[in-house]
């Protein structure tokens, strides 16, 4: 007595040039279930889902939807079959309103007027049914990512999707937003819709899926019932070896201060103070974590220290050199010369030029380093060699430094930036969301590298919205709320206390 299948994939193959992204993939997804897909960066998850959605064409294999063999020539065909997809990088027209984005491609007639009115009504109903509230007349670029994602989900539901594919939906969400999303997914499942969920967070897989499939290097290696597996087993299936889910580290032995921040205040694009009078220090040989719900000034703090965001008042001292940033602004290149390296949070936008090759991105910002050339000339041979070493060390796949960066999977793009900044052996490393979008094998590796950097006597300032990550890595935890540091705690402090601080409890108590 097996449940009817919503989707069945048989022997799907897909190549990109020399890369075989999908090899002979079989997959069965039961109707009315939430089916998780996990796998390392570059395992071929996004590719497989894009084939199902008609965005890419498979080189071979068969797709069956509701038991019938189908050909999905383009996304139009997929939509007609009731398949909807929320892509890893959103597919929204940024200067359109929510409503315009939702009706695009499903306008319901050559004139907009009738369709818009109907869409408005439908959107209202969907918002109520699924608790997916967003202002239909808001312009996309003004919305935070969490809401943009809701628009993507609304788009799919508006088209009557019965099968919803979500590609790493929680990568950009705060924990609260992720919880909200999961509640919605459960409602959808209980209504008989089928959900395919790609994620790197095994905890999410365990919490919400009914079944889970594991991909490795383009192949489907296993499918398990979620209730009959464990995070440890999944991790091992993904990476092909045992993975440490805990970070191993010795107590820190902090030395001299390498980064001192005094009364730093900075504004965001709209002229609002988002970092307010922040002071702290990071010493050699310690990792300082900044916890906080995203949007409380952590990103801007990193940018201000890195020399990307203008500072209104305050000073920063790097390894003994005091820089009065408000009076004498220092740019990112100068900061780097002082021994600071920076892994930006939004690496896709701020860390890479995706039309460049991997090796070009591997030295971006460090191209004046004498090791990479003489005078105005670049030594391409030396650069490629250095890039190859990083590729090997960070297991960036495919191991091809000539490939355009756009051709790498999302997680591998992240690793390119991480490798570039960490391998520079800085005095102080600023990292924002180091493991966003990367697989557990890579997380283990990145965590090890950060601890090794610390043990080598460097300072690390870590910003992450993952409380687990902060607690595992940091030697001291600062909590930010509303632009201010509202407390310092030891990493062993229990989660609920940190949670309260992050929610601004201390602030309110003081007032």
């Amino acid at each position: 007595m097996t449940a009817p299948l919503a989707i069945e994939l048989v022997g799907i193959d897909k190549r990109f040039g020399s890369v075989r992204a999908n090899k002979d993939i079989d997959l069965k997804v039961a109707k009315g279930s939430i089916h998780g897909i996990v796998g390392e960066n570059g395992a071929g998850k996004s590719t497989l889902m894009s084939i199902l959605y008609g965005f890419y064409h498979a080189d071979g294999g068969e797709i069956r939807v509701d038991g019938r063999p189908v050909t999905i020539a383009d996304s139009q065909a997929a939509i007609a079959l009731g398949i909807g997809m929320v892509h890893q990088h959103f597919m929204l027209v940024e200067n359109f309103t929510v409503l315009e984005n939702v009706i695009l491609g499903a306008e319901g007639g050559p004139l907009l007027a009738g369709g818009v009115a109907r869409a408005r009504a439908t959107l209202k109903r969907l918002a109520e049914d699924y608790d997916l509230k967003v202002d239909p007349d808001a312009v996309i670029e003004d919305l935070p990512v969490g809401l943009q994602q809701r628009v993507e989900i609304l788009k799919a539901l508006f088209r009557g999707a019965d099968i919803l594919i979500l590609d790493e939906p929680t990568g950009v969400l705060t924990p609260a937003e992720a919880d909200h999303l999961f509640r919605i997914l459960k409602v959808l499942r209980d209504e008989g819709k089928t959900v395919l969920l790609i994620t790197h967070k095994l905890r999410e897989i365990m919490a919400i899926t009914d079944e889970v499939s594991v991909m490795r290097r383009g192949e489907m290696v296993a499918t398990r019932q979620t209730s009959k597996t464990s995070m440890g087993e999944l991790a091992e299936l993904m990476v092909g070896r045992r993975v440490l889910l805990e970070v191993e580290k010795q107590p820190a032995s902090p030395g001299r201060p390498v980064l001192q921040v005094e009364n730093l205040t900075a504004r965001d694009g709209r002229g609002v103070d988002v970092v307010r009078d922040v002071s702290f220090e990071v010493r050699a040989g310690e990792i300082v974590g900044i916890a906080g719900v995203s949007g409380n000034g952590q990103s801007e703090l990193l940018e201000a220290i890195a020399g990307i965001r203008p500072v209104r008042s305050g000073a920063v001292t790097i390894d003994g050199t005091r820089l009065d940033l408000a009076r004498h602004p220092v740019d990112a290149a100068a900061m780097r010369r002082h021994g600071l390296a920076h892994v930006p949070e939004d690496r896709h936008r701020m860390g890479l030029v995706t039309s460049f090759s991997e090796y070009e991105n591997a030295i971006l910002g460090y191209h004046r380093d004498p090791a990479y050339g003489r005078g105005p000339m670049l030594d391409i041979g030396a650069i490629r060699e250095a890039a190859r070493v990083e590729i090997e060390k960070y297991d960036i796949r495919p191991p091809d430094c000539l490939l355009r960066t756009a051709g790498f999977s999302g997680g591998n793009q992240q690793k390119i930036v991480l490798a570039r900044e960490i391998e520079r052996d800085p005095v102080i490393l600023l990292v924002g969301q180091p493991t966003r979008g990367v697989d557990i094998g890579a997380i283990e590796f990145i965590h090890k590298r950060l601890v090794a950097l610390r043990d080598a006597g460097k300072g690390v300032l870590l910003v992450s919205v993952e409380l687990d990550e902060i607690r595992a890595l940091a030697d001291r935890v600062l909590v930010m709320f509303d632009g201010r540091v509202v407390g310092e705690r030891a990493p062993e402090t229990d989660e609920s206390e940190l949670g309260l601080l992050m929610a601004g409890a201390a602030q309110e108590a003081a007032e």
């Binding site: 959605y53 965005f55 139009q76 939509i79 597919m91 359109f96 984005n101 050559p110 995706t354």
Partner: protein
Amino acid sequence: MFETLILILDSTVRLATPLLLAALAGLYSERSGVFDIGLEGKMLGAAFAAGAAAAVTGSAWAGLAAGILVAIALALVHGFACITHRGNQIVSGVAINFLAIGLTALLGQDWFRQGGRTPPLSGDGRFTNIQLPFAEALRDVPVIGGLYSELLSGHNLLVYVAFLAVPVTWWVLFRTRFGLRLRAVGENPAAVDTAGISVTWLRYRAVICTGILCGIAGTYLSVAQSAGFIKDMTAGKGFIALAALIFAKWKPVPVMFACLLFGFLDAAAIRLQGQEIPGIGEVPVQAIQALPYILTVVLLAGFIGRAVPPKAGGVAYVKERT
């Protein structure tokens, strides 16, 4: 004084018409993400085809049809190079401009042997001026009469078509499905693709709209404004139209005002030719002719804020992560 003003405004309308048609033509293409600096070439090709066809058949309408067909053909060449083969849009546009200059001169000389001109048109071979009802009767009413009978009445059909094209374009762009998709594909083609719409077909349709309007613009030059085609008769109007388009931030109604402004400068330049201005002396014509360009640069640089082009403009669409 009032009479002079009416006269200048009247020729402003005539001079703005080809700019307006060409700028609206460019709007369709560029809003869809295909930059087009070949407006000039398409207009020139259409002007020649219209002049030649009208001369041979004696019908202005045949001229219009030929002009539109040739401009569409050139637009499709641009589309084939840039949409289908993902070629560089600027290079393709430049190539079309050169192609048009060369071919019109060559064919004109070969077919008509009048130094690149087409035979002069008369009668039904031209679009003649239309008198709106009561224009004569109202002529003597002060102010209103002058405005109505001089400014509004007495233009040829294509002038009215051009100004009618403004609200129509606005309506198409903001009130129809085609317009929504057109604007979307110029901003984020991947969003259009994943919404199940063909990016290629959509952009081809946009480019065809460009061809139609360029065809009318060219026809206006040789069959309505003048009585026949003259070598290089577009004289940079395609580029001014492009400036107007940028100036107006790719929006239809501002495009009209920008074209009227440039038309006005042109009309004033003609009026001021050889005239003494008290305190300044004779203004060199070149200085006034350069005004539209100078104005564009100055205004774009400081006054009207940044002109943000359609985000996906200039790049061919390749299915790939960005």
